[in-house]
Amino acid sequence: MFRLSVFATAVAAGVGMTGPALAQSTVYIPAILELSGAGAVSGTNFRDGMLMAVDEINAKGGILGRKIETQLLDTQSDAGISRAQVQRVLDNKPYVIFGPVFSGSVLVAMLLAQQAEIPEIVGGEAAAITQRNNPYVFRTSFGQQFSMPKIANYIRDGIKAKTVAVLWVNNDFGKGGRDNFIREMTSRNIKVVADVSTESGQADFSADVVKIKAANADAIFVYTNEEESARFLREARKQGVRTSLIGETTLLGQKVIELAGDAANGVRGHVGLTVDAPIPAVKEFAERFKKRFNYVCDHNGIKGYTGVYFVRHVTEKTGKFDSKGFAAAAHGITITPAQEPGILMEATWDKNGDIDRESFLGEVVNGQQKIVEILPKLGK
């Protein structure tokens, strides 16, 4: 209820933010997120992490003395609606825009923000997002070109697999991940013996599991969104799949574990961000998040939270609210927790807007994600 009231106030304030007096005392930072539809898990986690950071910053006086006014707009997990929402907020002259989280929506909408020279802090992981020479797009998590080599090394060295089956979701996120994954497998002489595409929002995975099982691979790599991942894991458990199930961040996420129940046990893989990271600042954030929102945050919540602190740090460094100046200053920046505690883990944004930071290898044990190894930043 409290969250709803904050949301309503934020929306009302964001919509009404046209008067110059109000504009002087606030900074308008809208968020365009997947609050319903197939991406609701991702979008709501991102939103809640973001709202938490906004409230913390506002309680301490805001950014450069101006409080953050945010407006939450639902993409309904649809790329066309995302684009329309970005167009809508651009009319209100935002300082930066948060979201979307779905890669397909980011790819469709980011050109508008680029044309308006407004930075966009996105949750998408498709490799293509930062490969289009857009100086106004910044990630909050690894792009697939950074995460897939890590997972490929794990499959080769940790699982010691010679053959692998891949199941992916047929959208920009899944297709980009699948292409990068197969490239990495081929370069390591690991044979892809099954390549199964599924649909976003797909409910029944029985045929897909049968196909994957029939391939008899050493490992199965699953690259789908949260709800589909959970449905797949439940079906895999139902059909008695014993092969190693490997994922990248999403498959080991809190929501997937909650939805899949026991079927998630034994899942392993690479995790870009997690509240189970053995890092005190992350654990402390996770406790505060759970206390406020009454559920366990997943990686998208951390993305939303750290994204807001990224904006604050860069803005305070430039000393003014200049969208173009923000984009210029954010490229190549490294932010440490000592400089900005809200960033939680040291992070670097490169010239393309890609992020680099430590990541993790994890496993689901007894319904809990367990981190077994910390992987260093790629740049180290």
Binding site: L35, S36, N170, G201, A207, A230, R231, L259
Partner: protein
Amino acid sequence: MASFIQLLISGLATGAIYALIAVGFTLLWQTSQTINFAQGEFVMLPAFFILASMNAGAPFWLAALIGIALSIVVLGLMFKLIIVDPMLKYGVLPLVISTIALSIFLKESVKDFYSSQAQPFPALVPATDVHVFDAVVSTQSLAVLAVAIVTVAALHLLLHSTRLGRSMQATAQNPTLARILGIPVQRMVLYTFLINGMLVAIASILISPIYLAKFTNGETLGVAAFLAAIIGGFNQVRGAILGGVILGVLDNLSAAYISSQYRGAFPLLILIAIILWRPQGLLGRIEERTV
């Protein structure tokens, strides 16, 4: 062969659930000319009745009973009294539009008042395996199949072996004549709505562990039930059962052996073929109407 058996059993289990939904669909059509485009949402909603009961502290078995009871009242009795009865006298089309509006209302209400996110839903039995020849078959699929078969068999017994069932059939076939013979037609119509409320609740309990409980589940299920009813025959309960089973099996086999990307197209191809060559459905009968 092992893969085929697994796909067949899994498809039969899903198809049996489609059949339950489609049977309710055809029952409403036969007795009251109600084409219920909210039937998918009717299957989605009981899962949330059950989850809400469990959140209130009820064990699953009790929550399931509460869910079934609430479905009978809300999706059977109240649906008839509040939507169908006032609209029916204006013809089929206004009623169809009303059920479309109801489907949107139910979907958005669950999204707003419960959650936009999928919710885990307990399975009827634990996930264990049974070996049939070389195939590993899930006990959950077998349990779904068993419950669906028992439900359909019970319905068949009710309709064909009891006085009540024969009265309901008479009402469906010729309400005017049934009324002359002393059958309380309105009460028989009400019973079909209550039966539909129970069928969708059972379907919800069976499908939600697979789909996870989510406000959008009705979209897929409603279309599946509609297609199943048309393929099998809109005016025959046994046609709806056959249509549901064909749809479930076809979906699984086509996704595995032809193309998972185009799996959604195959039922529609069958539908087109049926409309072209046997418009009354596989087991349906031709209805002649005087104008």
